[in-house]
Symmetry: C3
Subunit: 265 residues, 3 copies
């Protein structure tokens, strides 16, 4: 028998009891659930980073997975709580843009109004424990069928983050941005690999931080020692990497650092 | 069928094999167990921090949960190993005060003498793997019924940490302490929310670190930028917070920092 | 019914989606699997550290466990991917020496050629997700029986790391090395406890970093404040420890630091 699968993604960190509190609540309601952490080390309140990290993980999970996402600087305020269905997966989150990237291809979004599901009393500072965790547990146990209707009304205007798409700012000149620095120091940019290959087929010069990059490799170990290169990353985005090195440290770049790409044709 | 639930709380950190060693031992004995980490990032040997973190997590877990707690600076010495039953939950830990807070409302405590349950040979430096993990696994598999008797004799004098209760040091003047700084930098104090509300109903001035705080908010986002406020936290204790900021850094406070509260009536 | 058990050990860290991506892939193929993290905080590309940490954890896991090990600086290059059977446990890893220590007592090693098991398309930068995770999931679900043959051909020359054994460099004088510093700052050395006891039975002087150590304790709490001592660690290797202190900081030592032992007989 397949066990219902719930993932958790938060900015809670791992040293406090917050993540375990949510897991205890879930397992009290859905004891058969399989729990998988995506990460709890999103920067505090870093909604865009969470949106990107979620998108990357989601494509690897099977149909029926419920994703519980709590990066929630507005906890206790009038921001809505939502459930989104995208493909055959379900997302439970505050309505602050953290689902922007997984909603890019569409999906049905509901506002959570099913207060009878909440853990009582509902605190003003920990909706992860009191609202999001019990709702995720209800949605995973017994299938979405009727529960889906019970969540609350469909809404058409979930909050969306402004998309950071690369822009052609002059003929043959593009700007982009570092979406995220991963644990190895690789810079994940907002250039889609296929698009980048097309526009740079005649050669390019990419400036980011203190570096000027002219070479694309197809795997890490083609890079020379300390040489920053571009590579098509596992997310099908262009990454700036250094073979066995830390590109972020070498180039002085971080999430939000701007890129400038000059085509040499 | 409900799977037995075991939580783990240690100061082992996550970079070594120590946590996995305990989990491997547990799953060798109780393969059907569901394992949930509370945290492994308790400061090394920080018994009071562990006691507080444990208490906060426990109230979210269902009946029947077994909590395995290994913060054990005295490993290998003559300190006792204990099993405590509190309500419908069970705790396995060294007898060094780490269960103080969960035992505040009473409970039955036994010394572990069931050496036939231990992993052999028992090392002098890793009782988590050799004593506590196998005992927790025995207690969760098959229910506590008879196993409980087998653990060892009931004891009446488990080690208790000195409680840090707020004190009225002069008329209208109280002192307290920061119990813990969480991952966001919120200061969790030892003032119970209800008590604090009662004594401060006419206004207050709270000094902690470099700050003087006069305002209580009901949710984080009522605070102004960089303004430290008090809030009733999710643990029903008073917390000092900064909306989207790090109160510990802003105020220069940490676990153990003293508070002084002056009532203004 | 016993659930198949898969452990994960990587240098991915916990802030990115990489670990969750592997878990999602595994659970899509083997939804009944029990997943246990050994650690994801191996230093980036630190193969020797991973090999040691893996060896320590493995002895605690039951027969039938599948260990997924991804510390893979050569990802995308021509380095082989392998499956090893050692005793009743199975290992899935890149062929770069990370299995050296678990293979010391022998084992059957196969090159993974079963491309029909891979996640398609296979990226050049994330074989953990595209090759190792799906292979581990296949091997755990349904037992190894036939799957084993399907993995690929047996090889006789898996990459092995040079072993760092203690050496007698002069009569009564030995050199060794710190294999790893654990989260408490304990120095785990390459001296086997039994061997060390035998050669030092007449007394010794061990120099490491800034310290000279002459005393062996049998448990941590026999050490005086700030006194570095040796102890037989839980891995049956000699460790240099400081009771309730951080030996690595006090002695200025880290993984790779050399030891010199002079026997005083």
């Amino acid at each position: 028998m397949k066990r219902p699968l719930i993932t958790l993604l938060t900015d809670f960190g791992l040293k406090d009891h917050y993540v375990a509190a949510m897991k205890g609540v879930i397992l009290g309601i859905a004891p058969e659930a399989q729990l998988v952490d995506i990460t709890h080390e999103i920067g505090a309140y870093a909604i865009a980073e969470a949106a990107y990290t979620l998108e990357q993980a989601v494509s690897c999970f099977p149909e029926g997975t419920v994703h519980l996402v709590v990066v929630d600087p507005g906890v206790g305020s009038s921001r809505r709580a939502i459930v989104a269905e995208v493909g055959e997966q379900t997302f439970v989150a505050p309505d602050n843009g953290v689902l922007s990237r997984v909603l890019r291809g569409g999906g049905v979004v509901r506002e959570i109004t099913a207060a009878h599901w909440f853990r009582q009393p509902v605190s003003n500072t920990f909706h992860g424990r009191d609202i999001f965790a019990p709702v995720a547990a209800r949605l995973c146990s017994g299938g979405l069928g009727d529960a889906r209707e019970e969540v609350g009304p469909v809404i058409e205007d979930p909050v969306r983050l402004e998309e950071a798409e690369p822009r052609e700012v002059a003929p043959g000149e593009w700007t982009g941005v570092v979406l995220k620095v991963d644990g190895y120091g690789n810079l994940i940019t907002n250039f889609e690999a296929e698009h980048f290959r097309k526009i740079t087929s005649g050669g390019f010069e990419l400036r980011v931080g203190t570096g000027v990059i002219r070479r694309t490799v197809t795997r890490f170990d083609e890079g020379f020692s300390n040489e920053p290169c571009t590579v098509s990353g596992s997310a099908e985005l262009i990454e700036v990497i250094v073979n066995k090195g830390n590109a972020a440290l070498i180039l002085g770049a971080s999430a939000g650092t701007k890129l400038r790409v000059k085509l040499t044709v």
